[in-house]
């Protein structure tokens, strides 16, 4: 699919050469006139978001389609890695702000090696890297700081020191993608430790303050489009900010 711009309401013609098609965010069957169930006519798919049409190969020859748009407001989705701030603490767990419309619940036992007696003691205001365990529109989202199948922390849990930067959800998705060259280029000049949350927040820690500030300004520059996401532009920006 050439990267064409789609507006909400545009109908999307899917190449039906694939066995199964997975509709990602931004696409939905237009509900106004669903064909009668008996007829085999495929309900017409429309876009519900502004963005560029994107597709990728899914598992077993299925094709994934979604609309790649820019947005700042996070809507919790299962299995997302997110950065949250603890805003309240009560008996059995914590309430964590993810920047979405409802606060998330973090159970006191959802940590590696936590038992009824030895629960981690986190203060209000702590930054937590976690995974969305449960998210649907009618319930408050639940997050956990362990990887369910390994039971290990896998980097989840409290993050100490460092700095948090807010940026668009789109940039966070790309930062997690290994083929996106911004982070590798930065790593060449500045050694840093980083945690990218899909809710539009990026945490990182470097040795010196000026390196962290340079990193922050590069990320915000790429997000606002001032710095092009290519090796040359990023290197120039880093040198300039570090000077």
């Amino acid at each position: 699919m050439s990267t064409t711009l789609v507006l909400p309401g545009d109908s999307i013609s899917l190449p039906s050469s694939f066995k199964s098609v997975v509709l990602g965010p931004g696409l939905a069957p237009s509900s106004s006139r669903l064909p009668a169930p008996s007829s085999d006519e495929v309900p017409s798919i429309i876009s519900t978001k502004l963005g560029l049409m994107s597709s990728a190969k899914g598992k077993e020859r299925s094709e994934q389609f979604w609309v790649e748009g820019r947005s700042k407001r996070y809507i919790p989705a299962q299995k997302d890695m997110v950065l949250g701030t603890i805003i309240a603490r009560h008996a059995e767990g914590y309430r964590v702000d993810l920047g979405s419309s409802q606060m998330a619940q973090l159970d006191g036992l959802a940590f590696e090696g936590a038992t009824k007696r030895s629960k981690p003691n986190l203060k209000v205001g702590t930054l937590v890297y976690s995974r969305v365990a449960l998210a649907n529109r009618d319930m408050e989202p639940e997050i956990e700081c362990i990887d369910p199948n390994t039971g290990k922390a896998e980097g989840f849990g409290e993050l100490k020191g460092g700095l948090v930067v807010s940026c668009s959800l789109q940039l966070c998705r790309h930062l997690l993608n290994p083929k996106f060259i911004v982070l590798p280029t930065l790593a060449a000049t500045i050694p840093f430790e980083i945690a990218v949350g899909l809710n539009g927040r990026v945490w990182f820690k470097t040795e010196t303050v000026s390196e962290s500030i340079a990193l922050k300004r590069v990320i915000e520059g790429v997000d606002s489009g001032d710095i092009k996401p290519d090796k040359g532009a990023v290197d120039r920006a880093v040198k300039e900010y570090l000077a």
Binding site: T85, V164, I213
Partner: protein, 281 residues
């Protein structure tokens, strides 16, 4: 609507560490202001001022009204500075939060009570007709320091505004249209501008705090000064206690900062005047 949620505690630790080294998160030095930009609207007296990412729109309109009996020579200047949810979802339409009251009161003091506008010059016919100026402020985006941005936008709008030329014969008042006679600028004594400093425990103060810096600071001090080295308003409400020298240090910094800002304003006005034919609409 949504209560402002405090940033994670590591942000404050990092901010204090950075300030200890005299660096701020957006690369500025402590006493450096963000970039000031003015966008002039279609009509005279309509200006949008951007201070970094903070944006405020100011609009001046005039109308003719009857003066107060005990002050027959004085015109009026009404300031409407209500912060709506567009600036940030923290502000609500009806209720005014503490910060909104502080901003409204400080603007009121800086512009009206320091007689920035010569109110006697607004008189058309003593006891009969005077000009009533209405300055409406719209807070478009609150990325920290709405007050300085609003005061810049207000003063620029008042300098940019022209009211029709008026002629009085006996008790008849003749309003001339822009086509016949060039509209007249407002008579202004001086240009008071607000400067807001933010304080952190025992670190040197920073000028023009961003939204994050003003949430994490332990106190702010706002001083309104004009180019004639006069302090028009000073407001330090609580926060870290300061010694006399610290306050004087900050006020001296304010003096030459105000002079630079007035220069930026005049240049912007000059540029706008060139590509706008003021006389004939």
């Amino acid at each position: 609507m949504v209560r402002e949620i405090d940033p994670p505690s590591i942000q404050k630790e990092f901010l204090l560490a950075a300030l200890a080294e005299g660096k701020r998160l957006d690369g500025r030095i402590p006493l450096e202001q963000r970039k000031i930009e003015f966008v002039f609207g279609e009509e005279l007296g309509n200006v949008e001022c951007r201070l970094g990412k903070t944006a405020v729109l100011a609009q001046v309109t005039a109308s003719i009204v009857k003066p107060r009996d005990d002050r027959p020579y004085e015109g009026f200047l009404l300031i409407n500075s209500e912060i709506g949810p567009m600036a940030s979802s923290v502000y609500e339409n009806g209720r005014s939060s503490d910060s909104e009251i502080l901003i409204t009161r400080l603007l009121e003091k800086s512009i009206r009570r320091t007689e920035a506008i010569d109110r006697e010059a607004l008189c058309i016919l003593a006891g009969g007709k005077v000009w009533q100026l209405r300055l409406t402020l719209h807070f478009l985006s609150d990325s920290g320091n709405l007050l300085d941005c609003a005061s810049l936008a207000s003063m620029m709008a008042l300098k940019h505004f022209r009211k029709p030329d008026v002629e009085v014969i006996g008790d008849e008042v003749i309003i001339h249209s822009p086509e016949e006679r060039a509209p007249v600028p407002l008579a202004m004594h001086h240009t008071p501008l607000c400067l807001t400093f933010a304080y952190f425990e025992n670190l040197s103060p920073i000028l023009d705090p961003t939204h994050l810096e003003s949430t994490l600071c332990s106190g702010t001090l706002t001083v309104t000064m004009n180019a004639q080295r006069e302090i028009c308003v000073l407001s330090k409400a609580g926060g870290t206690p300061l010694s006399v020298e610290e306050i004087m240090g900050v006020v001296r910094v304010g003096v030459d900062k105000v002079r630079d800002m007035v220069k930026i304003m005049d240049e912007a006005l000059e540029k706008d005047r060139e590509n706008r034919v003021v006389e004939v609409r």
